[in-house]
């Protein structure tokens, strides 16, 4: 797979092209230039480290949307075994923008649910760019209920620009579908562990992200509205998305410091898209820790703890009323 570079990665891309050229030359050259190649590779890594250490929130958003970023099914492949995908909401259709089913996590039976984006044009359309319709959320709800019935922990993976804003989605009750999930997840009697792996787009993300532990991959974003949406409302121009990303606080580090997420899962150098397996290994360790934390809790305590956590969201002050 040839790497795709984002605009701000251009210096890395230039170096990598040069390395590639040298390798090509080396193949039929008598002179040994491997030392030169090694030197450039080190330089490329240092440059990547440098650029990624200084990512702006907007650049983070671009990494979160990177076309080669690992999606839910990639993480499932690397972290779980015996995945049995299940389909449909039993009422209308199967939504391909959300995938889910039973699997084993270190041998333990569990439920996995996540948004799914497409890799090529055909799959992107099939997956509706990761934007679920009500039937997607209702499938997720059905699977969560099933997990509760059989005492399985639920792992969710969040990666959506948002719930689909379409005529059909509205007709079938997009609002109700999302609201219902929030309601049921608040009182589900099995552990829920949510990870934002890419884009955490608003209500469409939250609808599978009410959890006992909420993690974010290092370059994932999570926000109440997309930076473009925020910019087009506040400045009447989507071009100001960079500024909107800055002020809204959408990155893992900002949200961690605000106490809105529990843990940042580090990504391989240059982002999860450079090494799906390494990203998944990093996440797997975090998920194991989270599961261990819930292991000793009774269902009642688990729900109570989750409830207290939900009630704690929000920043306000209290003053004397006149």
């Amino acid at each position: 797979m040839k790497a795709t570079f984002l605009d701000f990665e251009q210096p890395i891309a230039d170096l990598e092209t040069k390395i590639e050229e040298l390798r090509f030359v080396q193949d039929d050259s008598a002179v040994d230039i491997s030392e030169e190649i090694a030197r450039l590779e080190t330089k490329s890594q240092a440059l990547t480290k440098d650029i990624y250490a200084k990512l702006t929130p907007w650049q983070s958003a671009l990494v979160a949307r990177h076309p080669q970023r690992p999606y839910t099914l990639d993480y499932i492949e690397h972290m779980f075994t015996d995945f049995e995908e299940m389909h449909g909401d039993r009422a209308f259709a199967d939504d391909h923008a959300i995938v889910g089913g039973m699997a084993r996590f270190n041998g333990q039976a569990c439920m996995v649910i996540g948004h799914q984006k497409g890799r090529d044009t055909r799959e992107k359309i099939l997956r509706n760019f990761g934007m679920p319709r009500p039937e997607g959320y209702r499938k997720a709800l059905r699977l969560m209920r099933l997990a509760e019935k059989f005492g399985m922990p639920v792992f969710t993976f969040i990666d959506t620009p948002g719930a689909y804003p379409g005529i059909d989605a509205e007709e079938r009750g997009q609002s109700e579908a999302i609201g219902h999930n929030l309601y049921v997840m608040a009182e589900l009697k099995v552990p829920i562990i949510a990870t934002v792996i890419g884009e955490g787009g608003s209500g469409g993300a939250l609808a599978i992200a009410v959890a006992d532990s909420v993690f974010m991959m290092q370059y994932a974003t999570y926000s109440v509205i997309s930076p473009e949406g925020c910019a087009s409302i506040l400045w009447k121009s989507a071009d100001k998305a960079g500024e909107a990303a800055e002020i809204m606080g959408i990155t893992a580090s900002r949200l961690k410091s605000l106490g809105l997420i529990d843990r940042i899962v580090s990504e391989p150098l240059g982002g999860a898209h450079r090494d799906h397996r390494a990203a998944a290994q990093s996440l797997k360790r975090a998920l194991q820790d989270a599961l261990r934390q819930c292991a000793d809790l009774s269902p009642g305590d688990l729900v109570e703890k989750r409830f207290d956590r939900l009630m704690g969201y929000g920043k306000f002050k209290e003053q004397q009323v006149a």
């Binding site: 999570y222 109440v224 929000g314």
Partner: protein, 287 residues
């Protein structure tokens, strides 16, 4: 003075000046364009007497209309907003809050009161749309939760009247989390078998629509209210086609099975009281 003005006879000149009409005496109905006396409109709960168009109603006016005059008091007024992100676009968030307070006299976009409707006790949370588009931030979420808690403690029904554009951008992810917080609170109300009635008024959109608004034991809409997840403009841009007539209006929602009933504002008081007593298996309230 120009040559034209010099030419005009004095009488015509005077008539070009406007005669003063007291501000706000007349209003035009935005739906049927009938010219109405403002006092007539207010006396009719902001419903146009000619075409029944339900105009927006301020939170306190609505609470006045719904609650019995005796024994009502406010809940959660002590909770007031802060600016957790130091949010600033063309204006600071704190300046927007101050301006909204100036305009509405409210500290945030939700007013919660305990009282009774036709003697049936309840807690009502009512959105103030004129406060930053009735948007939901941390204060709206917290006041909502305190309202639900009060209903649980006093063993009474909880009612929410929505009028909102959705989550408040200026509080970022804190606002999004209010969707989970408010909805979770309702699970405790349900465990105690206490009714939750949700009334959707114009408009009920976004993060409020997609959280507690549709979780009511009974979901009621006012006639002609715009209710949906995504705004019509966003949908139009996404699907690139004209939206059907009446799309996302109450009548459309009723047809699609999304709401239980459409209730005229002038019947709301008796309807809410009737529904509460039915759900509580009590005798109807004497009116």
């Amino acid at each position: 003075m120009s040559w034209l003005q010099k030419l005009l006879p004095p009488k015509i000149k005077r008539e070009s000046g406007r005669k003063s009409i007291p501000e706000g005496l007349w209003v035009k109905c935005p739906a049927c364009e009938a010219v109405l006396y403002n006092s007539d409109l207010e006396g009719n709960l902001n419903v146009c007497p000619k075409c029944n168009h339900h105009q927006r109603l301020r939170a306190r006016a609505r609470l006045d209309m719904l609650l019995d005059p005796e024994g009502r008091f406010e809940i959660g007024a002590e909770v007031v907003p802060v600016d957790p992100l130091k949010f600033k676009d063309s204006k600071r968030y704190t300046d927007r809050l101050a301006a909204a307070f100036e305009d509405t006299g409210e500290a945030d976009a939700l007013v919660v009161m305990q009282g009774a409707i036709q003697t049936v006790p309840c807690v009502i949370a009512c959105f103030e749309f004129d406060f930053m588009g009735g948007s939901m931030g941390s204060v709206v979420g917290e006041r909502f939760v305190r309202g639900v808690k009060a209903a649980i403690e006093q063993n009474m029904s909880f009612i929410c009247i929505s009028a909102t554009g959705g989550a408040r951008m200026q509080e970022g992810l804190f606002s999004l989390m209010q969707m989970a917080k408010t909805t979770a609170a309702l699970t405790q109300l349900a465990q105690r078998r206490l009714p939750y009635l949700s009334v959707l008024t114009d408009p009920t959109m976004g993060g409020v629509s997609a959280s507690f608004a549709f979780m009511g034991d009974v979901v009621i809409a006012e006639p002609g209210a715009l209710v949906g997840f995504a705004g019509p403009r966003v949908i139009e841009q996404t699907v690139r086609e004209k939206l059907p007539e009446g799309f996302q209006r109450s009548e459309f929602l009723l047809e699609k099975g999304a709401v239980d009933m459409i209730v005229d504002r002038r019947d709301m008081r008796s309807k809410l009281s009737a529904l509460m007593t039915l759900l509580l298996r009590q005798a109807p309230a004497h009116t």
